[in-house]
Symmetry: D2
Subunit: 364 residues, 4 copies
């Protein structure tokens, strides 16, 4: 029987361990994938720290590219074309049930009551074990939305864009960016940079990024940001506001995309938005507690505020479309700065945790 190595999180705040699991056979519609590259997302660091409640032990890894090894009978990609062994693919990390109150009645599949995500929601103790990207093999359920990757799109760019890009593509559906808009992006992490890309691609005339460190702000400029403001150089929010309004004009930006995660960014963003403008609260994925806001601002400024959670398969499709544009292909590819073999998965995680690198990936 073949075995697959996998990096396993067995207990919170403990190093990832290398374990072996049997490579499973494929039932009808299932797809066995040989993993080529799996990204470490900021969420993975939070998961290691026990900030979200997940089953343990777990094989992490929800941003993955690989090659089809075996298919149970036949399986189509999300566009309806039959898949074949040897093809390079990625997939939507979550599967919604399609059947619950949120999937069916309210058409909010990202809030599906029984949503499960590869690399997050499956115990490695339960067969077929291989349900995360930090492993030589991953077995995809028959319900998985699988996407062929065109030759012109590198695996690095897909993993480099990762769930940040798909999450932003979903978020911006809730917070329209119109042709000619001035857009503020809060945050220069992977989500922030993806927001710069999507804002520009949607027709923003000016994109201002607030974030840190300087190296990330340089990347934001390479992505196309017209101006950047360092929260390290200008730690005072009032001072930042003055500086930014000097650029946007005295009333603020048309759109503010929060991609930070610290609660304090949320009211700061609303203050930077013009009256009647649109604010996306995208970065508050983890529960980081309360923040004081003045709701009078929402009424008086006539704001439109949207939250957005995760993404749907069509955003993966749209991400791959966007990556076929050579400019974005190159930018997201360059996000990947460090590669580790599976045996060094824990070193990879430690590097990701230090946030000194760009994207850290594992190449099993």
């Amino acid at each position: 029987m073949n075995l697959s190595k996998a990096a396993v999180l067995a207990a919170y705040r403990q190093p990832l361990e290398l374990r072996e699991y049997p490579v499973p056979g494929v039932c009808p519609g299932e797809v066995l994938v040989r993993v080529e590259m799996a990204g470490i997302c900021g969420t993975d660091v939070h998961l290691c720290d026990g900030e979200l409640n997940i089953p343990l032990p777990v094989i992490l890894g929800h941003e993955t590219v690989g090659t089809i090894q075996a298919i149970g009978g036949s399986k189509k990609d999300w566009h309806g074309t039959p898949l074949a062994p040897g093809e390079r693919v990625t997939w939507a990390s979550s599967i919604a049930c399609g059947d619950c109150y949120y999937c069916r009645l309210k058409r909010q599949p990202t809030r599906c009551l029984s949503r499960k995500a590869y690399g997050i929601s499956y115990s490695a103790d339960e067969a077929p074990h291989l349900r995360g990207g930090y492993a030589q093999y991953i077995l995809l359920r028959a319900e998985t939305a699988i996407f062929r990757i065109p030759d012109a799109v590198s695996s690095e760019s897909v993993v480099g864009a990762g769930c940040a890009l798909t999450t932003v593509l979903h978020g911006v559906e809730h917070t329209l960016v119109e042709l000619g808009d001035t857009v503020i992006v809060q945050g220069a992490g992977p989500v922030g940079l993806a927001a710069v890309a999507v804002a520009i691609q949607s027709g923003a005339a000016k994109v201002i990024v607030i974030g840190a460190p300087q190296r990330r702000l340089e990347l934001a400029k390479e992505f196309g940001a017209h101006a950047v403001v360092s929260v390290e150089e200008i730690p005072d929010a009032a001072e930042r506001k003055a500086l930014i309004l000097a650029d946007t004009g005295p009333y603020g930006a048309d759109v503010v995309l929060e991609c930070v995660g610290r609660p304090s960014a949320v009211p700061e963003g609303w203050e930077l938005c013009r009256d009647g403008g649109r604010c996306l609260v995208l970065g508050q994925y983890a529960n980081s507690g309360d923040i004081a806001i003045n709701p009078h601002s929402i009424t008086r400024k006539q704001l439109q505020i949207s939250g957005s959670w995760g993404f749907e398969p069509r955003h993966v499709d749209r991400a791959i479309t966007l990556l076929q544009n050579p400019h974005w292909q190159e930018r997201f590819c360059a996000e990947v700065t460090h590669r580790f073999p599976l045996a060094q998965a824990d070193e990879a995680m430690q590097m990701a945790r230090r946030q000194q690198a760009g994207k850290v990936v594992i190449t099993p």
Copy 2:
């Protein structure tokens, strides 16, 4: 020279005083109106208490019906039909400049940089003095959007609906109510009741009102609320939530319309909304300070939150249309419970302050 009596607020927290001003002549496009009825709005109480910064002395009154006395040359109503003396009219209380960043570039006229409202923004010391409803006469500027009142619509219903109805009609443009929606209205004051009317008229299948006192909740039922929850009987928010979710189903309402004004209502409303639902923050007209919120809720619940400020002339038009429906005509008419002559304007204000009555009006 003719004189017009007027009730004047000369200093914050002082009784309204009766003064006299010359009845002005009409310049081109101006309209002199003999006031028939002027409502006391909750905002007027706040203004008397000095909670907003306005010029003093001031003739309050921004919800007014009257009869045209004189027209400077010719003036059309908002539909383009020439007005004539003797016609019964109401008007949009605010005039936007049409020319500024918000009026022109961003099409947010309620946020006009030089907006002025009758009964609020004009000093009674400056000619032509008569710019508020608590007076025998009011002189309307040529730029005013004036609306004829059809015979079938009583003055009581127009003043009873007041700026509450127009404000809600604007708000619900930002927070769509769809056919079949379950809607929670927070607040049973004039704005809350108007929200019940607009939600039902927009096709809501179920409307639940949270508020107090009991008498207002009874009114809410007469307006068509399917259920009411008393914040006096159930002061604990968690208990209220349990009760309400038993009615809406476990995930909450499709739409929550906040019409309260206390900051604490805002996060409570968001918690009562289903994921992917829509929340209007309409009641936070005055700045009542900060409240703790958890922005993680916005991201995770994928909420769409809108603020809305004031209203535009077309909402007055729409209000009059709605009042032609006999059911709403009757309901809003019944809102007016107390009438005072102009000489007792201060008694009227005291009664409005005690919030024991329905709508208090002045009939100069």
Copy 3:
């Protein structure tokens, strides 16, 4: 073995024949329903005449209410509550695959590439045979969206509303009716009357119906139409236009809902719409050939024109919600004017064909 009688269309333009089929057992998720009432829709008449290409022989009937007889294992209603024998239900007549270009990529499930409808798309020669409403029993596939009918909602009202109401509820999603709108409904058949109901329930201030015969126009008034125009009394379109504009004002209606089916209604409707207004082309379900239009009107009048095809399960849900309103309950109930036993299914069809009645139903 139990047998179920069924009325079968064996050849186009031939009488319906009574045949017998074995009552099938239920596989997992399938639901066997004892039919209580099945409506004859205008489409059924077209199907009998061979105007659409369907498999023959066929058991017609796509507007059906019945009682659950047997369930294969367990099956939930569309809200997620397990169904039980003895419950009164209706269901979405079509099943979309959820998997094709239209279902998945473009989210247009009514245009599913392999959509199948009960009473239309299934050959009665193929097991399990019983796939239409004109039969004692119908076997519902496991994928069917089934809806419990509340006690307060009569079977007559559900069948009386039929697919007309659900089709309109879908159509009006494409052609927003806003609070206070003036709406013209073209057609006084079942779809036209449902359009009156949905327009009023969506907040239309004035609804004008153009149609015939007089009896249907009377019904339209009972539904709430503010004015009706008879195409029999006023056969000249220019004359009708003059009459209607006298009511709407010189520029036309905000919204025109075409529910007729004759191509000539389409350009006539566009001419009755104000510039910048919204036109729904809902009635052109069958291909009735070309009509001359002047596309300059579309550009110059700045029209928003929408087509809409069929409906989704959520529109059945919404229809049942609307029928819980006693006014609509009563109106749609009164639509059913003639009942026939299954043995007289062909007489029923002949009566429906003559369009002298309201809704004709079969009660097997």
Copy 4:
């Protein structure tokens, strides 16, 4: 007294004549502009031919750039900044009244009941005569929306983009282009090329242009079209459809932007659109008569069809924003291929009529 030369159309189908008019003084808010460059638009050719009813004699020219010569008192640009002599400006060619049924009640200012356009609606016989671009001077009314042109934006690019770009920017507000969409542009004239630019800038993933002649299709490629189809090489619509669907996929494009003007393009475009897609009917500015359509297609294909007429001042603002992007700056600049002095205005018009050139401009 100073005189200004102007090229005047005195009678339809007659050569433009050079006449002289007194240069008027400036009343309050008026702006006298020394014309630098005025474009010849396809509409101007139609106007010369008498296809629209306009006052004669007329000074044509509604796409104009010039330098402020004198200001009556003070006048602000559309952003609210005071203008000064010597500044280079352009302006919205039309002025809506702001006061009529369409301007006010229905917020459709492009359908203003008393709209007037420079270069079209003013008789040159009436003072102040100079109301068109084909003249040394033009006097702008106080109500004109004037825009400063940034140094980085050449006059050629503004006139090269002309009313084509602003018209498309308005049209695409009605026919959303979403990130990743496949877009078909019908027409390779100035409007078609502008549509390519706006589609790409709005995030289209693929743009296919159908048009002629070859030279224009080459330009379309330079603008960024991914594929072009020549109506000269492939005159048969069915053959074109087969070719295009081979590129878009079998169901057609997400969006079709009609920028042709021939009625036959409209039904052809609808056939090239996928079900549930969006079609803009933008090119049917002139009344070119009827065309046969099958309205069944609109219902069955569930199309969203929009017309759009002219543009508003904010589209001029947005156009200038777009021209600050160096790629579009360069492309629209290159559209201008021929320049004529005012004395040769008629030769310029003849060249424009032959459609052999790119944009023909007059430099008075």
